[in-house]
Symmetry: C2
Amino acid sequence: MPNPTAAILIIGDEILSGRTRDANMHYLAGELIRIGIDLKEARFIADDHAAIVATVNDLRARYGHVFTSGGIGPTHDDITAEAIAAAFGLPLDVRADARALLAAHYARSGTEFNAARLRMARIPEGAVLIDNPVSIAPGFSLGNVHVMAGVPNIFQAMVASLLPRLTGGRPLLSQSLRIDRGEGLIAAPLAALAAEFPDLGFGSYPFVQNGAYGSNIVIRGTDAGRIGQAMTRLAALFPAGA
Amino acid sequence: MPNPTAAILIIGDEILSGRTRDANMHYLAGELIRIGIDLKEARFIADDHAAIVATVNDLRARYGHVFTSGGIGPTHDDITAEAIAAAFGLPLDVRADARALLAAHYARSGTEFNAARLRMARIPEGAVLIDNPVSIAPGFSLGNVHVMAGVPNIFQAMVASLLPRLTGGRPLLSQSLRIDRGEGLIAAPLAALAAEFPDLGFGSYPFVQNGAYGSNIVIRGTDAGRIGQAMTRLAALFPAGA
């Protein structure tokens, strides 16, 4: 049975404007590999209601899971929860359990539970909360869409809450070999080797270091023995220093 | 006249597998802001022919420019040029000027110009070359799609070759103010201020530092005077240390 598939949707003007560099996609990609969910696509879009609705509806139809990051805080530019509810055609209202979590949190910290903060208790009908041990305001899963915060440490805590609920497949394994030769020299034998192992993925990632060309060759698959066989052949094809 | 719009398409298995963290999107986002091209969306997809064709055709229909990164080297997993040609329904062949550039480069460096390297001279019919002063193998523009390498220093050199050809609009300017209070406390007055300046964008980006909540408020627009007015009001609303 093939692994479940996934897409990541990162929502927020600050990344598209070049101001902030995203960290959440890279983090989640690494976590998904480990539990055997195949990440097929990632998208970055602005805090734009119509763009969020259209993108969520496109992605949730095409992939087993959609993970979103960003736009669920208390300020006016946090429009993700409304947009997800609209994408599913479901109402969005303050939910008692989410409100209770936040009320207890603000009572403990002696902070006012005001109208802006109450916005974070609005949950689309039928959603399952995602625990947020950092700042309490929960994320939520609606169908196959998992809606999480954008602040990296909160995002990571939510991912840790969510992933044990999901059924993964076979983890994707990989080994890599650094070859201090340009891609142009290794391309033909590498292609021939890749053709011998059609069950594995062979990636070549060139680099330039101190003016010299090199390539990292990554072999990916779910069978450690096959990867080992291919890596042995690869190492023999391109001995170090040759 | 509104600014031209753009999307970035980053092609490569290594980023979706969590192995490599992309740098090109962040770099290009910053460059586009400067010349007044509005980046609306970024996508990351695998080295998959059908996915590249479908995504390029979707994006080029919706945005003024599409910038791609990755998959134009000499190895078997470099399938971007074929896929772009297929997306446009155009033939892909070795082109004399691209071959001449590479032949001269390899002759100068005493390196064999083999069949794998010749693949990098395959250019879709009607494309305009994008100069690559680093490793010579060119990128190309086909219609509104600009196809560039994935290796960051080569990508950046190609962007520098390409951008002077493109017509931008009004650069997006921004100012930001750090407020050492949680978003929940500032949300209501911030929303009211944003409503007074509908021509500007107000973003709130929360952070946690040493256990305390804070927010960076970013005001964006194309009119420096208006941004200054709004920033003066914002600073008065949230005086430091209050």
